[in-house]
């Protein structure tokens, strides 16, 4: 049995690693002989089989092929309908995880307990969906760990470095930036910041638009008219992007499927960098946000570490070198280090101090006696970057005479302005009648190692209390019975 297993469930690629007896992690290839498995699922119409990986990606039926499901893990309303059955993002992800489990266990032994990586800014529902996906695939999640944290663990292990490290993780779908301190085996996370929908697939889309524009200019026709052909061209743009990380210029030819002629695409690295400059500037903002969040300057960072396939783009390295005054390093294969780090994390988690990824609080009218102003504000109870697990309490006052029901909204976000935070839940508590306003209510938030939140409210006068695990109003989260039923169903499926 593989005791310490880590899985990188990526937007475009997924990988599984285990810890060898010598303490070093190793990627386990799938049955197709690939070290990483494309996170793509194909539902065959002829046979009752689900293809996962390269075979699914290279198939030709876009209506039956699911790409980048990870982008929807926090959307309770996102369902994929195939042959009348509606699949949740967690179920699709479970098919990918099942493929990894089945294939890899043939090499490294039975896989039961795993550490799975998630983007640093994955919210509560996305984390729950990830755990549910693993359970449906027959695995127990020991811990969820943030992707840049896992990568940094691997970097620290393989390079034997110490000091402050900034991890810049630009993957297929997301950008994460994490700053951490390493001292021997001990790792202390200082902060993580993330941007969703900022990754390699966005660059592919930008290139796709450029191809379509060129095609229109040269032939007067549209480059694609259906999803099947769009996918084919998209694959060509992805290949061109990869080539431009090695070459200064690439030439390509494209045609639509309406016999409108062939267009020649002449693309330079300089032009590609210009096309994605807006996106890359956004990544600089995120790095600055991480530095501000940790109250650090660029000169306080000892190592800049690159993770994720999109960091192969030369301009990324140039930007970071200019910013930090030092050459960024990669920890071996930038696509594999997250899974490798997750396997290490499975064993070393006790030595890794993580922090809250977001601030949690409630809405309150804050009255300032000095200025005599009052304002509806996001009142933070647990600030972002508090080491976890943690618990914090703030005392508030009731707002009305004879208030019978206390309502506490749970907010996620740092902004003091209530307009710019998410309200992720609400607790209500019945209290005795006939009391004046101003009664004290203690609000306690707790945050566990898996970045999940619990809230407790206590009416100090009556002693009445209520505690809940914060959930997104239950939407998108499966009940235990439903999870068990779907797990049994999934395990009986043919997944190749």
């Amino acid at each position: 049995m593989a005791e310490y297993v880590g899985i990188d469930l990526g937007t475009t690629l997924s990988g599984l690693a285990y810890l060898k007896p010598d303490g070093n992690p190793e990627i386990v290839p799938n049955s197709d002989g690939e070290r990483l498995t494309p996170s793509v699922v194909f539902f065959d119409s002829h046979e009752d089989v689900k293809l996962v990986g390269s075979a699914a990606r290279d198939g030709g039926e876009p209506d039956r092929t699911i790409f980048q499901i990870k982008r929807h893990m926090d959307d309770p309303e996102h369902l994929v309908e195939i042959d009348g059955k509606k699949w949740t993002p967690a179920e699709i992800s479970a098919l990918i995880l099942s493929k990894l489990k089945r294939d890899c266990s043939k090499i490294c032994g039975d896989i039961t307990d795993v550490v799975i990586t998630v983007p640093a800014n994955f919210n509560e529902l996305a984390r729950k969906s990830t755990i549910a996906a693993a359970e449906m695939a027959g695995m127990k999640v020991k811990r969820l760990v943030n992707e840049p944290t896992a990568a940094a663990v691997y970097y620290a292990h393989s390079q034997g470095v110490k000091g402050r490290i900034l991890v810049y993780d630009l993957g297929g779908g997301t950008l994460d930036t994490t700053i951490l301190e390493v001292e021997g085996d001990n790792i202390k996370i200082l902060t993580s910041e993330g941007a969703r929908h900022l990754g390699g697939s966005n660059f592919d889309d930008i290139l796709l638009d450029a191809y379509a524009e060129q095609y229109k200019k040269q032939t007067g026709a549209a480059l694609f008219s259906d999803e099947r052909h769009r996918r084919r061209v998209l694959q060509a743009t992805e290949d061109a992007k990869k080539m431009l990380s090695k070459l200064q210029r690439v030439n390509d030819t494209v045609a639509n499927d309406q016999n409108s002629g062939i267009a020649r695409i002449d693309l330079s690295r300089e032009h590609f960098e210009k096309l994605i400059r807006n996106m890359l500037t956004r990544t600089v903002f995120l790095v600055e946000q991480a530095l501000d969040s940790a109250k650090l300057k660029t000169s306080d960072i000892d190592h800049v570490v690159l993770v994720g396939g999109s960091t192969r783009i030369p301009k990324v390295k140039v930007i970071l070198e200019k910013m930090f005054g030092k050459v960024p390093k990669s920890c071996g294969n930038v696509d594999e280090c997250v899974a490798l780090g997750a396997a290490l994390f499975a064993k070393k988690s006790a030595k890794i101090q993580e922090v809250c990824n977001a601030s949690y609080g409630t809405l309150a009218m804050v009255y300032n006696a000095k200025t005599k102003e009052e304002k509806l504000m996001n009142s933070i109870v647990i600030p972002k970057n508090t080491p976890i697990p943690c618990s914090r309490t703030q005392v508030y006052q009731t707002s009305e005479d004879n208030e019978r029901i206390i309502e506490v909204d749970i907010t996620q976000g740092e902004d003091p302005d209530a307009k710019y935070v998410d309200v992720i839940g609400r607790i209500t508590l019945d209290v005795p009648a006939g009391r004046p306003k101003g009664c004290e209510i203690a609000v306690t938030f707790s945050y566990d190692e898996n970045q999940r939140v619990r809230a407790l409210i206590v009416d100090k006068q009556s002693g009445r209390s209520k505690e809940v695990a914060v959930s997104y109003k239950g939407a998108g989260v499966l009940s235990d019975e439903e999870l068990k039923r779907r797990s049994a169903h999934l395990r009986a499926m043919r997944i190749e």
Binding site: A195, L280, T281, L363, Y396, T398, S399, E400, A418, V423
Partner: protein
């Protein structure tokens, strides 16, 4: 300073401060619930197309440091909104992120 609990559903009703206070900011039309729940991230729909500076509320009198601070604040806000489940909020966030990048390039140069 004291803090009075105010849930979304109660935020437009009832509370009067214990002492005379300045009038709080007027509640947005449609209620606080509506505004917070939907993020209401970007400014109201403009009558004319706003420039990136106008969208980012950058004025000619602002110093470089003030502009930098404003852009950082806006980036934090709209980067968050960019992952909203509400397509409208995401669209508004995208407009704002583009404006933030434009203003940065204009005042601080390209990366």
């Amino acid at each position: 300073m004291f803090k009075i609990l105010k849930s979304l559903s109660k935020s437009l009703t009832g509370h009067k401060p214990a002492t005379e206070v300045k009038k709080p900011a007027e509640a947005p039309k449609g209620g606080v619930l509506n505004q917070v729940a939907k993020g209401n991230a970007a400014p109201a729909a403009p009558a004319k197309v706003k420039t990136p500076e106008e969208l980012c509320e950058i004025t000619p009198k602002m110093s470089k440091d003030e502009i930098r601070a404003q852009l950082k604040l806006l980036y934090r806000r709209f980067n968050r909104s960019a992952s909203s489940l509400d397509a409208k909020v995401r669209g508004e966030a995208e407009t704002m992120l583009n404006a933030i990048v434009d203003v940065r390039e204009k005042h601080f140069g390209e990366i």
